[in-house]
Amino acid sequence: MTDWLEKHVPKLVLAPSLIAIFVFVYGFIGWTAYVSFTKSRLLPKYDLVGPIQYEKLAASPRWEVALTNLAIFGILFILFATVIGLILAIMLDQKIRTEGPLRTIYLYPMALSFIVTGTAWKWILNPGLGIESVFRDMGFENFTFDWLVNPDLAIYTVVIAGVWQSSGFVMALFLAGLRSVDGEIIRAAMVDGISTPRIYMSIIIPSMAPIFLSSFIVLSHLAIKSFDLVIALTGGGPGYATDLPATYMYAMAFSRGDIGQAASSATVMMMIVTAIIVPYLYSELRPRHD
């Protein structure tokens, strides 16, 4: 008995977390998938009616906008957050005297929720209140920065704020990565006659592939989950020009009282997540010889 216990302690210890994950993640995903085949409105109902919610979803122009936005937002957000994070990390890695304070400044947006910063961003980006008006007051009469109020461009302001919030974290990841690059490689390259920019471009950055992957995963899940950002900044507007799947799903479930529809959109979202995450998990966890 004690032997058995001893042998299985690790599994027993893992069990509570696993059970929780199975119920609260996989159980709930299953529940959602089930509900997506019902006509649930205000509250969930459990009579199956077939894929009508998905048909509705496919026909909805708003959902289409949401998906397009996710693509635009996702790509730009990941791209800029990665590039800016990387640039900041590289710059901070140059033996900067004030690294401590600067790092904190770049990192702090992570600490704030968008309930807090949304209003400030809304003002800053609003042409009548923020940057545009400040520049015009300064005498640049023709300065225009009105993306927030332009349905075609508003989604890009969401990118700006999103990048603001997340690039610091990416910076931290890359900085940590840079700090763990073998110093001898850099020395070797220097002796090899390679200039510093070239060392970064050709040697260090390619060797940080795993960090690119990690930050891609973190960022893509932030992109897919993005909700506060849109609600606080644009409320999905102008019109529903900045809707994302998460806000669509939320609107359907909670303001429209159309849980069936919400569940179907949630299921599609989960499929997108799966498509991105599963290859990552696979590559991360396949047996390695280390």
Binding site: V23, I96, A120, A172, K225, V273, I277
Partner: protein
């Protein structure tokens, strides 16, 4: 020395000077860029702080981005203990303590769970443990809106709906994925021989964990605690859905102050409240930010 080598010397000197100038120019450019970025990051905070220090009249009439004509701290006091979050007008204060009560145990428990899970998954692997880890990780990526309704049903069934323990449970469950990830990646860098040595020494699973692994974990504990604390403290969605009167966290109160629908808006109080609500997390970042990078370097990044 001959003339020739004198010339050499002068050439050397000039080359040296050129190199020096180039270096200084480069540095200058570098610092300029860094500061520009810093301004970008600080802008919203600047707007918030400045607004919180203005009077309402000045906000109505003046530019939102200009410095206050007169510094007025009254909105801070009001946000802390006088703003209306409903019928009561006690400011953020009571909710602040709810959040403290909620986040400290939740952070502690999820960190501990992550530590022990990571310990198992890194050092006590068994058949299928990698797949289990993958399944746990996937939990990190589930959008929270999706789980609200089934979670409500479950909490009801568990009879902890609307209580702080219930809310804690939610945060712990959805934190496990990340905390486990952090600790696992940290612990895989520790040689397996340590466990073997301790086993031969006669120590068991828990003994090894508490005596040997936990004491080496501070760097990664810092990362995890920062991460979890930020997530839990800033959470609104779970907080608003799974609390009831008396257990609402600070974000809900902040939201009640900031997002009043059909009332008169007091932007200065809103901003002060927003900053107050963010102070604990800001503090954590300022104080522990250094260890954050260090911790990331130590474990959670695979280089």
């Amino acid at each position: 020395m001959t003339d020739l080598s004198m010339n050499d010397h002068q050439l050397d000197e000039r080359a040296n000077r050129n190199r020096l100038m180039k270096r200084i120019a480069l540095r200058l450019g570098l610092y300029t860029l860094l500061i520009l970025f810093a301004l970008y990051y600080l802008m919203p905070l600047f707007v918030m702080v400045v607004t919180s220090l203005k009077s309402l009249d000045e906000i109505r009439t003046g530019s939102l981005l200009s410095l206050p004509r007169e510094i007025d701290f009254s909105s801070w006091g009001k946000a802390w203990s006088g703003a209306c979050t409903g019928i009561q007008c006690n400011g953020l204060q009571p909710y602040f303590w709810n959040s403290v009560l909620l986040s400290i145990p939740a952070v502690a428990i999820s960190t501990l769970l992550g530590a022990i899970n990571g310990y198992v998954l890194a050092q006590w692997r068994f058949k299928g443990s990698n797949i289990l880890f993958a399944l746990m990780l996937f939990g990190c990526f589930i959008p929270f809106q999706v789980v609200l309704l089934p979670m409500a049903i479950t909490l009801g069934a568990l009879k902890i709906a609307g209580t702080i323990p219930g809310l804690m449970l939610v945060h712990i469950v959805y934190g496990i994925g990340f905390t486990t990830l952090f600790f696992r990646n940290f612990y895989v860098t520790i040689p397996q021989e340590l466990v073997k040595a301790a086993k031969v020494d006669g120590a068991g699973f828990f003994r090894i964990f508490f005596s040997i692994f936990l004491p080496v974990s501070p760097p990664i504990i810092v990362v995890t605690v920062i991460w979890q604390f930020t997530q839990i403290w800033n959470d609104f969605l779970f907080g608003v859905s799974f609390s009831q009167a008396g257990t609402q966290p600070i974000t809900v109160a902040l939201n009640n102050i900031v997002n009043a629908t059909t009332g008169v808006k007091e932007y200065n109080v809103d901003m002060a409240a927003a900053i107050i609500a963010a102070l604990p997390t800001l503090l954590v970042y300022v104080v522990a930010g250094k260890y954050f990078i260090r911790g990331l370097t130590a474990g959670s990044v695979k280089g």
